[in-house]
Symmetry: C2
Subunit: 199 residues, 2 copies
């Protein structure tokens, strides 16, 4: 039991007390539930891998999105991790493919460009099979740094390098917008007609 | 004193109790302070007017922004009220002129197109002295309705009709973006290089 408590308390957000509570809860639930949980975690460990194309997490060597022939191969959306893939898939707004960096450049956390799949992205661009690379990175210090690093690597190539739009969130009043977002949203204004399609 | 309490309690957010407290506070402050307050409100009533060009609040018939010859006459930013003018001026990102609607179309509040300065805007566009009309309206039901109404009125003219960008606010993580904003921000993506100028 002590070992279970110790292993559980290593999970993020779970201290020793919570780990103990979880362990007691598992014991009360009976053997079958515990076996199920153990097996599911074992399966996760044994079967999960990174898609060899987009580096997203996948059960098979090439993930279902990369394998989908109805999706546009020529348009690649660069994201930080698989959560962003899921968020973008939920919007149904993007029908191209993804490239998962596996993090953002963050010297504070000891993450450099070499820890990410940037070289693989550059490789894809150099093969010249891509027409557009869309950077869908967070608008944070780390996101901006990573985007700029990628820009310096592939900005000179003939592909169209774009970024998701920054501006006022849908549903928000101008009144509550911060100055930088407001400033950006007027600099990067768009043709009004282009806003009508998917209202 | 009863009249002062009554008048004060008509202000937004001030009930009878607060009005009484304010009145007693004024009495304690002495005559001079009361005279000053009264005069400032009188001046406000007598001297404030709407700029005859942009319909913003102004001390003079034509406001300082409209009178500024260094600003671009050919680019007009359409906003709801003077607060938006102040917010946009704070960003220093816009060097054209404004057109203040004086509200947004809101049937719930009994505000129709006729209550706003939309006809005046259409008049300016018809004079053909403008090249671009930028809609900087809130991304709310009322803001969208008003923008669409204006679009139907002047969308056919030769001016460039634009809207401020909608998307992820600067500084925000992709993870926390709502689905509609995320969807919009990938549909309306921009060339990466265009994001570099004013970082």
């Amino acid at each position: 039991m002590e070992r279970a408590v110790q292993e559980l308390s290593r999970l993020p957000g779970i201290g020793r007390r919570s780990a103990l509570r979880l362990t007691l809860h598992l014991l009360r639930q009976g053997n079958e539930r515990m076996e199920n949980l153990a097996t599911s975690i074992q399966d996760l460990a044994r079967n999960s891998q990174f898609c060899e194309n987009c580096h997203s997490i996948s059960d098979v060597p090439v993930c279902s999105i990369c394998n989908d022939s109805r999706r546009d191969d020529k348009s690649i959306c660069v994201v930080e991790d698989i959560r962003d893939v899921l968020a973008l898939e939920n919007t149904h707004a993007f029908r191209g493919k993804y490239h998962v960096l596996g993090g953002l450049i963050s010297p504070m956390d000891g993450l450099g460009p070499g820890d990410l799949t940037i070289d693989e992205l550059v490789g894809k661009v150099e093969k010249k099979e891509i027409e557009e690379v869309i950077m869908a990175l967070s608008s944070t210090m780390e996101g901006d740094t990573t985007a700029f690093y990628i820009y310096r690597k592939i900005g000179d190539s003939s592909i169209r390098l774009t970024s998701i739009a920054r501006g006022l969130p849908i549903g928000d009043s101008l009144e509550y917008a911060d100055e930088i977002t407001l400033s950006r949203s007027i600099q990067q204004r768009v043709l009004f007609e282009s806003t009508l399609s998917k209202e």
